[in-house]
Amino acid sequence: MKKILIVDDATTVRMYHRQLMESLGYHVEEAGNGVEALEKASQDTYDLFLVDINMPKMDGYTFIEEIRKTPAVKATPAIMISTEETESDRDKAYEAGANFYFIKPVRMEAIQTFTKLLTGGAE
């Protein structure tokens, strides 16, 4: 079973994304900020990161920049999900190394489609 790490400081957002992903058959884990996510990523292997931008201790851009510099997790796809709607936010996300960018609230079908695409399915 493939594993997804949801990185968001809002509990309800993590819960919402968790049920979206679990309904597709993924195993889901959670982290409340970028540093916690890095700590988890150093101890375990994930098939996808779902990452918020605004978080304490370490924001989403910095988290993705960090994983892109780390050999073990360099190639793991990352989807950014944010409340920020401008073109420049989107650009920054891709510059940091995100594979896709969604604006909250995400459309269920859209994020599920991209998740399947980036992980090659849940199995």
């Binding site: 409340g32 900020n33 970028g34 540093v35 916690e36 890095l38 700590e39 150093s42 101890q43 201790k57 370490m58 910095t62």
Partner: protein, 284 residues
Amino acid sequence: MAALSKEIDIKITNAEFERFRDFFYRKTGIRFEDSKRYFVDKRLVERIKKTSSNSFRDYFTSMRFQASGEELQQLINIMTVNETYFFRESHQFDCMVEELLDEIVRTQNKTELKIWSVPSSTGEEPYSIAIYLMEKWPGINHVDVELLSSDIDSSVLEKAKAGIFNERSVQNLSPALRKKYFNKTEFGLYQATDDLRSCVHFSKVNLNEQKDMQKYRDIDLIFCRNVLIYFDDYSRRNVAEALYDALSPGGYIFLGHSESMSRISSLFKIRKFKDALAYQKPIE
């Protein structure tokens, strides 16, 4: 029986608790959550009775304005108790002697290392480190190790220096280690040998006080276990910065099992070793 002091029933009101909490935080950087209310009340009442004060108000006023600060020190002592014994959370000691120190010596070409155990509490942790180094780290034959240990509580430091432990404290030590590093006292207690005690340099430090912390620099490994958990967000961040200052580039921190630097700061890099997680100050 008539000589028994009158048993006054002292209760701490909500407002008094708040007042004490704010004061104690300002003084120590330790903030008690509401969930600690029972713990705090019980100890406050204990001190109020011990000092023969009539009420919280009396006690609080006299403690706040006491020039020596002796009573505040007493309070800090009883408010920060923490269970400790030899070889507690030993996977971190294993990590230290099996991987971490060798890596520092190898990658940073060191012939001298500084290890700092804070808080020392009654000495079990720093002495455990010393025993581990001498028993299980071959590197000790060619590397000098300076072992420092500090606590905010002076009475605890006195106990640590004396190095006298009960059976429960040493339960994880084999009979051979007990024999080698301890003398049995006439009361059946274990006193660390002079040799063991001379391995650790004890000092008093308040982790939240920059002036205290500035004395500690170029440390290669810090054990800072089960103390940050008692601090509030600001103090934790402040202490994380201060520990960063104290470390040598490439140096490491071990935290307690329920603590994580990732909820405090992004200053450190997470390093996963075979037996334990450690937080490293980047070399750069």
